[in-house]
Assembly symmetry: C2
Homo-oligomer: 146 residues x 2
C-alpha cells in the first residue's frame, strides 16, 4: 500500500517548483557568465549538426550559445513577471501551425488544460537543462574544471 | 507615446491573475450550487446540438452540467495544488494526437514556452466562463433572477 502511494507521488510534479528551479538556474548562469560575449559563435553541443550546416549556408537561423543566453534570460523575465504578450508574433506563427488544437478547445477543455500544464512543465525542464548547458560550456571556455 | 504604452499594457495578460480569477469563480459556483444533483441531465447552452445527438445515440460522451460542475472543481484542485499527474491518460491521448509538437520542442523551446503559457491562459479564460455559465444556469433552475 505504501509502495502504491510512493508511486503516485513520483508520478506527480509541481509546475511552481519547475518555474522556481528554472529561475534559480538562470540566476546561476548569469552569476557565472561574467563575459557573455565569449559565448558568441560557440555552438551548443546539441546543435552541432545544425551549426555545421549554418556555416555552409547563408541566412540560416541557427543559434550560438550567446543567442541561447539571451533567450534563456528573456524567458526567465516572462516567468518571473507572469506577463503574457498576447500579440506575440512567434506564438501566432506557432498557433497557425497547430490549427488542429482549436476544435479540441471546445470539445474537451479539461484535456487541453492538462495538455498545456504538462507542456509548460516539460518545456521548463528542457530550458533548465539548456541553461545548465550554457553555464557548463562557459566554464569550459574560461578553463574552469567542473 | 502614452498611447503606445497603453497598447502594450492592454496586449499583456497575467497567468497568475487568470488562475486566481478561475479559483474565485469556481468557489462562487460551489457556494451557489447547494444541490449539485439538480444539474443532472441539464445540457450546457453551448452543447445543445451535441446533447440532442446524445439522446438519440447510446454510449456517447456528451456532458451534462453536473459533469461540468465536477470537471471544473477537479481542474480547480489541480490549479490550487499546482501538481501535474505525469501519467495522466487523457493527456497522453492528447499528446499522441499532437505528435507534430515534439520536433518543434527541440527546434524552438522559446516559442513552445510561449505557446503553452498562452494556451494555459486561454483555456483558463474558457473554463472561467464555463463555471460562470453553470452558476447562472443553476440560479435559473431554482428560480433566482440574475
Amino acid at each position: 500500500m505504501q509502495s502504491a502511494e510512493t508511486n503516485t507521488k513520483l508520478n506527480r510534479a509541481c509546475l511552481l517548483l519547475a518555474l522556481r528551479r528554472y529561475s534559480a538556474t538562470v540566476l546561476n548562469m548569469e552569476q557565472t557568465v561574467l563575459l557573455p560575449s565569449l559565448l558568441r559563435d560557440v555552438e551548443s553541443d546539441e546543435d552541432e549538426d545544425c551549426f555545421q550546416d549554418c556555416h555552409s549556408a547563408t541566412g540560416s537561423s541557427c543559434k550560438d550559445l550567446y543567442d541561447y543566453y539571451l533567450m534563456l534570460k528573456a524567458v526567465r523575465n516572462t516567468v518571473e513577471s507572469g506577463l503574457i504578450t498576447l500579440d506575440d508574433r512567434k506564438t501566432q506563427t506557432y498557433l497557425a501551425q497547430n490549427k488542429t488544437l482549436e476544435p479540441m478547445l471546445e470539445a474537451d477543455p479539461e484535456a487541453l488544460f492538462h495538455f498545456h500544464l504538462r507542456g509548460l512543465f516539460s518545456v521548463m525542464g528542457n530550458l533548465t537543462k539548456k541553461s545548465q548547458g550554457v553555464t557548463t560550456k562557459y566554464m569550459d571556455i574560461i578553463g574552469i574544471m567542473n
